[in-house]
Symmetry: C2
Subunit: 187 residues, 2 copies
């Protein structure tokens, strides 16, 4: 394959999401994705390890951004404020890919295998938060609780954002959710 393939990754992603939406993730093959994109299977495997990676390949960058933001939060920040900085960084990143995120959410909701995989990803994000908070000196149990709570906030805000009836940006919804958390937990 010596010929030039402009934006082959983007075309493969678009073809994959269209097919997963039309016939379900389980009933779509890599060969079909490549064909729909007008590319070869070999090109697909140059970009993705398997058909699941089209949906989950972005997870590493998301986690890196979140963790970096927690690491860089001011020393004076409370554990939840530091986690909030990570959540805001995640919202900024995901906002750039709203159409993808919405379509992806619908595809995942339709497949038990993908829902399970998504939950594993969220659990791993919670652990990454806890580890980052641990590096800030937060004790183990408090760090892991904050990680779980951060993911609860993430899920709640994410659901509002992918809801077609809510047209606001993710960073705005995330700020609102973090303010709500502060309000409902205030003594």
């Amino acid at each position: 394959m010596a010929r030039w393939e402009p934006d082959s990754r983007g075309r493969l992603e678009q073809a994959a999401l269209a097919l997963y939406s039309e016939r379900g993730f389980e009933n779509t093959t890599v060969a079909e994705i490549a064909e729909r994109a007008g590319l070869t299977e070999r090109t697909f495997f140059r970009h993705y390890a398997d058909k699941r990676e089209v949906l989950f390949g972005g997870g590493t960058e998301l986690q890196d951004r979140m963790v970096t933001a927690v690491d860089e939060a001011p020393a004076s920040a409370t554990p939840m404020e530091a986690a909030g900085a990570g959540l805001r960084a995640a919202a900024d990143l995901l906002q750039q890919r709203r159409a993808f995120a919405r379509q992806r959410a619908r595809i995942i909701a339709a497949s038990a295998e993908l829902r399970e995989r998504e939950l594993i990803k969220l659990a791993s994000l919670a652990s990454a938060f806890a580890d980052a908070l641990g590096r800030r000196g937060v004790a183990g149990p408090a760090a892991s609780l904050t990680g779980e709570v951060a993911i609860a906030v993430f899920r709640s805000a994410f659901e509002r954002w992918v809801d077609e009836a809510d047209d606001r940006d993710f960073p705005e919804i995330m700020r609102e959710s973090l303010d709500e958390l502060a309000a409902v937990t205030a003594r």
Copy 2:
């Protein structure tokens, strides 16, 4: 079946949990559970609709207790304090069944089908919290966020409680987790 069967429900539960642990939930039949308990399949079905109900039948009582505690929390309680009352009620109830809860947690962890079912149950508890908070006048988004956060606290505390290395009672661990939540979210 006219003969007297002392504690047949308890014997069926014990037999079911032993078999699920030994050979896995998917590989156990109702006939085997009844046989191990020295009872008939008909007796099994008088107590449980199916083999999954042995593990999930207690969910309704748990949810009822949580919701009642939220409903009865003082009017002055913040949303999270009201949710905390529900969580403490849940911990009181579950503490009475520690051995069952621990064995059940291991069985569920070993089965994708049961993990999915457990997550659906937790999502339904989060909604029940949100509904109860709504009845207290908490606005929709804040109520649903609080429900999600309450479940995050529940999961975090539950994991510590079923951990064999931690011998404290669930109510004590729950109080600690709620105090931690207050500490990490304090401004």
